[in-house]
């Protein structure tokens, strides 16, 4: 049985009044920020976050406290909040931004205080029109309330916060691409090294990039203390995590669960959460962590939803998304659609990603539409191997960013798990599910 959910970031999500300052304050809002700027030194806040073992919620799972400690000393440093959320089947930030905009603002300001940012930018995916209205309204209210601007809450700390729109490009979620976009350019990821924007970031200045959900945890952590946060979860995975459940499940949606305490089975089948599959259907495969992640089968339902636990079975918790596919779904088609996504969204700078991605899509399309040949399976594996030598996981990086190396996993894993299904397409000259 899953434990009763203790909610941190989605605790107020169902209260429609919460989107206004008045509602947010009635729900205990801005107490974390007040405590931070009035009672704590920046290094105390950083210590708390370090002790909380707050893993980044954007996908890579890098510890926020450690990232902050890598920030290069400089008079000007920036904080950028990554609200680009375009990873397929990931929609937790969408929900957080629309239902609790002040929490995002408060969290961003706490992070800005902790690292001494000269200015904070919230980069929000351009397609979130309502999210923009809500967050900008929250920012306007927060300025009037004295939470942003000069001497916030009468402390000596001053800071400005700017909401910035994206314009439709998955790649801009990659942090260096995001910074290019924020500088007004095409969203081309930057060549590494430097590996971290914490050394050279926005306008060449040291910059921390953190995900929306990551900073949304900060008001709670500062208010309740790091040890309350580490009371939840296990191992390196502490606190809670937003899971975005989608696909062929009865109750798709976002669910905030304590980290490392529930399994895939719990979230998919518990009536409180996913509520199981449609009548008469059985589970075929799960895609955890975003479409870059290797798929899992029904025999892995009891894997625990924690950073290291999912990594241990050769996949990743990633962006917290979980896609459920039942036995009515064609695995070739699913893998083809993912390859189409990558082919469309490659920024085109690196040959393996640009060429490899579009060739994989073409061959996948050929098989799905019935014109495939048996050699195509080897051809696909060869293409995968050209992008990621050895088709290893986690992938070896041959390109500027990890979009390219993300392309092979769904193709390679679906061939491995469902080779017969590929062969049926080839032998029958068409998709058996059409």
């Amino acid at each position: 049985m899953p434990l009763p959910p203790l909610k941190i970031v989605s605790a107020r999500a169902n209260d429609p009044k919460n989107v206004t300052l008045e509602g947010y304050l009635a729900n205990g809002g801005y107490q974390g920020l007040k405590r931070a700027v009035l009672e704590m030194n920046p290094e105390d806040v950083r210590d708390q976050v370090m002790q909380a073992s707050l893993l980044g919620r954007g996908g890579a799972g890098f510890e926020a406290g450690r990232k902050w400690s890598m920030l290069k000393k400089s008079d000007i440093r920036y904080l950028v909040i990554n609200g680009d959320e375009s990873e397929p089947a990931t929609f937790k930030d969408h929900m957080l931004v629309e239902s609790d905009p002040h929490q995002l603002v408060e969290g961003a300001l706490i992070a800005g205080y902790a690292i001494g940012a000269a200015r904070v930018f919230i980069f929000l995916r351009g397609e979130f029109a309502l999210g923009f209205e809500r967050v900008q309204n929250a920012i306007n209210e927060a300025y009037d309330y004295g939470a942003i601007g000069r001497d916030i809450f009468g402390s000596k700390f001053s800071i400005d916060l700017v909401l910035h729109p994206g314009a439709g490009a998955y790649i801009c979620g990659e942090e260096t691409s995001l910074l290019e976009s924020l500088e007004g350019k095409r969203g081309f990821p930057r060549i590494k090294p430097p590996y971290f924007p914490a050394v050279i970031g926005l306008y060449g200045k040291p910059t921390i990039v953190n995900n929306v959900e990551t900073v949304a945890n900060l008001p709670w952590i500062v208010k309740n203390g790091a040890s309350s946060f580490t009371d939840l979860g296990a191992g390196r995975s502490r606190g809670t995590r937003m899971f975005a459940l989608s696909g062929q499940v009865n109750r798709p949606g976002t669910y905030e669960l304590e980290m490392a305490k529930n399994t895939f089975r719990d979230i998919i089948f518990d009536p409180e959460f996913g509520g199981g599959l449609r009548p008469g259907r059985s589970l075929k495969a799960i895609i955890p962590g975003g479409v870059s992640a290797p798929w899992l089968g029904p025999d892995q339902l009891d894997v625990v939803l924690g950073q290291d636990e999912v990594a241990a079975v050769g996949s990743m918790l990633g962006s917290g998304s979980i896609i459920v596919m039942d036995d009515s779904t064609c695995m070739v088609k699913a893998a083809w659609r993912i390859s189409k996504f990558f082919a469309r969204e490659s920024c085109g700078q690196c040959t393996p990603c640009r060429e490899g991605g579009s060739w994989i899509e073409k061959v996948m399309n050929r098989i799905e539409s019935g014109a495939g040949r048996e050699e195509d399976l080897d051809l696909l594996m060869d293409l995968c191997d050209n992008i990621v030598p050895g088709v290893s996981w986690p992938p070896q990086q041959t390109t500027i960013c990890v979009l390219g190396p993300s392309i092979p996993s769904s193709v390679a894993v679906s061939i491995k798990m469902f080779r017969d299904e590929y062969l049926t397409h080839i032998k029958e000259g068409g998709c058996p599910y059409d």
Partner: protein, 214 residues
């Protein structure tokens, strides 16, 4: 006429003032121009380049990278149907096919009356409402074929003017406050507070060292 109107120009200057470097306002200004003209005209790209201090080619280069920025005219309503994985599993492709039929156009095209442009979108982060779509970046879903028809009929009849404003993410977003503290002043502050923090940390380290030696 596609340069910014006086009122829009004021908004443009407000946006420019939010960034340490003007060029950062490129994409916000492109959104603003689209809101005014429906799409990005050559003339407005020239003006944006002028405002942010780059060349029109740089503005076009950036604009052409992003799906939301249109350098050709689009319909009053941009309908984007998601066909990515979660929507695919719930009939997103079929919905797109139905949309082509209902609107009488191919994906990517605009109806003759200039009302609708149909697009095939990647995931719009509305996957728990699959199959999902956006009209001018407002969310709808899950949609059946009948639901889609009703939506289009309501849009055509002007019944959703307030729910679905003109496209452009910023069309109803108005920042009320200019930058409160100039960057130079912030930098002086941070230098002081960093120095104080350095002293605190040094004192703490010294105290710990002393404790350790006891």
């Amino acid at each position: 006429m596609s340069r910014f109107t006086k009122e829009m120009e004021t908004r443009a200057y407000e946006l420019l003032a939010l960034y340490p470097e003007k060029r950062s306002a490129t994409i916000p200004l492109c959104h603003l121009a689209q809101e005014q003209n429906g799409y990005l005209t050559e003339e407005s790209m020239v003006q944006i380049a002028d405002l942010v201090g780059t060349t029109p080619a740089e503005v076009l280069g950036a604009a052409s990278f992003y799906d939301m920025l249109h350098t050709e005219p689009v319909g009053k309503y941009v309908v984007g149907v998601c066909t990515n994985i979660a929507c695919l599993l719930q009939g997103g492709e079929e919905l797109l096919g139905h949309a082509e039929e209902k609107l009488g156009i191919a994906t990517g095209a605009t109806t003759d009356d200039g009302m609708f442009t149909l697009e095939d979108m990647e995931c719009i982060a509305h996957c728990d409402h699959a199959p999902a779509l956006q009209v001018n970046y407002r969310f709808f879903g899950p949609l059946t074929n009948d639901g889609f028809d009703t939506l289009v009929d309501d849009l055509s009849a002007g019944k959703l003017e307030s729910e679905v404003p003109p496209h452009g993410t910023l069309s109803r977003v108005q920042r009320k406050h200019p930058i409160a503290v100039p960057l130079e002043e912030i930098v002086r502050h941070r230098r002081d507070s960093d120095a104080k923090e350095g002293e605190r940390l040094a004192a703490k380290a010294a105290a710990e060292a002393k404790e350790g030696s006891n």
